[in-house]
């Protein structure tokens, strides 16, 4: 609905394109229509017209579903109404009340999932960043085989998520998985075969898989950042007697700050929202210890078929992420401008 009405104002402001067709045969027709619109407006309107398709698609793909989600969160959208949403009775704030009532079963498990997700995000973003920075810095100078290593490091990122993660899930199987084979039979580090896909270790399994999958992204972006630092800085500092460590602390890391600001934010948002990794790794139902919030919301909507409640949880998640992003951007950009 939104999509079909939006283009009109833009079109009018622009060139009057819709009226264009039939008059074309008249030869001077288009000029007459164009003359009705002041030149200034025509010039100002053009950039907007050009980004119009992007805006329309953005609205369709992102904003409209989001608004629908917010609308759903105020409905009692149970199995009796999922076929015809408009018939669903309003729920007021009831869905939100259930979600934030942490003493209840629903709210309690949402809170637990939130805590797990925070811990997971901190560890995963930290590890991805650390690995990415380390690899980018170590591969700054050119050496034999650098291209091969780069390609190798980027492979997990290039693989389709499903293929990579399902392979990990096979490797983590208790009886026939490679991880236990190495830990128990090959190296004899452990006597008993541990579980990786259920119980407490599932958190570790998820973390390993996720970091494996995502750290190349940090590596890729940071590598681009590192390549942009001028060699002259290093040469000058070397003349002043700065060693490798000093160069890293005083040149590389400060010069990477703007890149880091973006990388950490993007990693945070991806990680906090990650659905694919736990969904594929645990086959749809994540164990409590690795119950990331996106998959938790998905499951709690489907177990009770109450999609209003699931939407309310999603809206809460959206608000939280907006808040964190805003605070992050304000604090980091203030620090950058001061520096």
């Amino acid at each position: 609905m939104v999509a079909s009405t939006t283009p009109r104002p833009g079109a009018r402001r622009g060139t009057g394109a819709p009226d264009d067709g039939p008059q074309r045969s008249g030869g001077r027709g288009p000029g007459r229509v164009a003359a009705l619109i002041p030149v200034r407006l025509r010039r100002l309107g053009l950039p907007y017209l050009l980004i119009l398709p992007a805006i329309v698609l953005e609205l369709l793909i992102h904003l409209v579903p989001m608004l629908v989600g917010i609308w759903m969160s105020f409905l009692k959208l149970t199995q009796f109404f999922i076929r015809n949403w408009s018939a669903a009775p309003g729920a007021g704030l009831a869905n939100y009340e259930i979600a934030v009532d942490f003493d209840s079963a629903v709210g309690g498990s949402l809170l637990r999932s939130f805590t797990v997700t925070v811990a997971f995000t901190v560890l995963a973003v930290g590890l991805c960043w650390l690995l990415g920075t380390a690899a980018a810095v170590l591969m700054q100078g050119s050496f034999r085989g650098r291209g091969v290593l780069r390609t190798l490091f980027l492979t997990p990122y290039a693989l389709p998520a499903y293929a990579g993660v399902i392979t990990w899930s096979f490797m983590f199987q208790r009886d026939s998985g490679m991880v236990n084979h190495i830990l128990v039979e090959q190296s004899g580090l452990l006597d008993e075969r541990p579980f990786w896909l259920i119980g407490g270790n599932s958190f570790v399994a998820l973390l390993v898989t996720y970091v494996w999958r995502i750290w190349p992204f940090a590596f890729l972006v940071l590598m681009a950042g590192v390549q942009n630092i001028s060699d002259e800085l290093y040469e000058a500092s070397a003349i002043d007697g700065a060693g490798w460590w000093r160069q890293l602390r005083s040149i590389t890391l400060p010069m990477l700050r703007p890149v880091n600001q973006v990388v950490v934010l993007v990693l945070f948002l991806w990680t906090f929202n990650d659905f694919n990794t736990p969904y594929v790794l645990f086959g749809g139902s994540a164990p409590e210890e690795a119950d990331l919030i996106s998959i938790h919301i998905y499951q709690s909507s489907f177990v009770t078929w109450n999609f209003g409640s699931g939407s309310a949880m999603s809206v809460l998640l959206l608000l939280f992420l907006l808040l964190v992003t805003a605070v992050y951007l304000v604090t980091t950009s203030r620090r950058t401008s001061r520096a």
Binding site: S4, F80, I98, A105, G199, V303, W305
Partner: protein, 440 residues
């Protein structure tokens, strides 16, 4: 001039995209239903065989025959059990889905409540040969009593205790266990040298929920009270859950690794490959065949009934099976009905149920001697006498998901060596109960 042309093109493109994105809310592909042109149906089949690919293979000759007879092409997708219910819900919510699909018959009433399926009223049933052509127990699991069925049964099933004859003989066991204590005893005899007494699918929501129901019945538990409120955490249900979990936790006749099994085929593989001597399951004929296990190498016995003195019901199975439904949003409802008619026809019923080792749901299919084998007779006997239907209420699917998930978590606790007490079980089931009430 050029700029204006560009702008026009951009605008037209945007409008076109917008229109095409908004416009299509109909069913799945294929030429539309108008005219006598060949049609295409999309069909979601449930995973009945040893793998998704195997099901494709099994269904293919039947679908080819259907195309030959009617000119209608059926595009089949086999959906794994762990995804099927969610996929159906997503299709219902979005209006984007298949024309025809298989559902677990226990979900009938829940899905009926969504109004997503074409109800099989008497007119439609007449086109399939009438209500009386179908077997009673199967037809009873097609929706709320008194309403037109939301789906029609195509495969009939129930639970039995499969046992490996060779492993039994080697352990000196002469007959399948008749009581629960005997089952544990037998299991202990079989558990040795890396082999186990019994295999379970410990991370499968559906399997766990079915067992919760069957053993719950044995202890006299009712899932919903008279007013329809859930009572998953009754003492009887807790005892039933513990009885099942203890096979792994206390009696140690189940491999703890089974707590990881969740795709609905792994426990069967443990049984057919001889890693476990017993299995409580529905028909496994096609899986056994695929694994090279002959029909005479395993037996089918009833799951032990409880001691009548203990109270509870004499139940050792559930009315299981697969129903077939037509999506209301399908643009090819006539062709879809044609396909349902084909799937419930005598010939197709015989062909497919023979492969799957399940029971035909129409009476006229039983004249084939293939349905007089020992295994089939054993299942028939259980279904006719000691199988109970799951409650046909709209909340049934939620019971399966909530209680099944709770049991997945309990199995995980048991496997990782945690003490699973009755309080622990009760707490989990109470949580399931509360979630059910919060969601409704």
């Amino acid at each position: 001039m050029r700029i204006r042309k560009l702008a026009t093109t951009a605008l037209a493109g945007a409008l076109l995209l917008a229109a095409s994105a908004c416009g299509d809310d109909g069913g799945s592909g294929g030429p539309s239903a108008e005219g006598g042109a060949p049609k295409t149906l999309t069909y979601w089949a449930s995973n009945q065989g040893p793998s998704l690919e195997a099901d494709q293979e099994i269904l293919k000759p039947e679908l080819d025959r259907f195309k030959k007879e009617t000119g209608i092409e059926v595009k089949v997708e086999v959906v794994p059990w762990a995804d099927l219910l969610n996929r159906i819900l997503a299709a219902t919510t979005s209006g984007q889905g298949p024309d025809v699909l298989n559902i677990g018959n226990t979900w009938s009433a829940s899905l009926q409540a969504t109004g997503a399926f074409v109800p099989f009223d008497d007119t439609l049933l007449a086109k399939l040969g009438g209500r009386d052509r179908f077997l009673g127990p199967s037809l009873a699991a097609t929706g709320v009593a008194g309403q037109p069925p939301a789906a029609v049964p195509i495969y009939g099933m129930t639970y039995g205790l499969m046992y490996n004859k060779k492993m039994f003989a080697e352990a000196g066991i002469e007959a399948p266990p008749k009581t629960w204590d005997e089952l544990i005893e037998t299991g202990k005899k079989l558990t040795k040298d890396g082999k186990w007494g019994l295999a379970v699918e410990g991370a499968s929501v559906t399997e766990n929920a079915h067992h919760a129901f069957i053993f719950g019945q044995q202890h006299g538990a009712e899932l919903f009270d008279a007013s329809g409120r859930p009572q998953f955490d009754s003492d009887a249900q807790v005892a039933a859950t513990k009885q099942f979990l203890d096979l792994m936790a206390v009696h140690k006749i189940v491999n703890p690794s089974n707590a990881e099994y969740g795709n609905g085929t792994q426990a069967v593989q443990d049984f057919t490959s001889g890693k476990a001597g017993m299995l409580m399951w529905q028909s496994i004929a096609s899986s056994a065949k695929a694994a090279g296990m002959g029909e005479d190498e395993y037996g089918v016995a009833p799951i032990p009934l409880p001691d009548p003195a203990q109270g509870g019901k004499q139940v050792n199975g559930m009315v299981a099976g697969i129903n077939m439904a037509i999506f209301k949003h399908s643009r090819n409802q006539d062709a879809a009905l044609e396909f349902v008619k084909f799937m419930t026809s005598k010939q197709t019923q015989q062909n497919l149920n023979k492969v799957y080792g399940s029971l035909p749901t129409v009476k006229d299919a039983y004249d084939d001697p293939a349905f007089q084998t020992e295994h089939i007779k054993a299942f028939q006997q259980i279904l006719a006498t000691t199988a109970a239907p799951l409650p046909q209420v709209p909340e049934e699917s939620q019971f399966e998901t909530l209680v099944g998930t709770a049991m997945n978590e309990l199995f995980a606790d048991v496997a990782s060596g945690k003490q699973v007490t009755e309080e622990h079980i009760k707490a989990k089931l109470t949580e399931a109960d509360e979630k059910m009430q919060a969601g409704s």
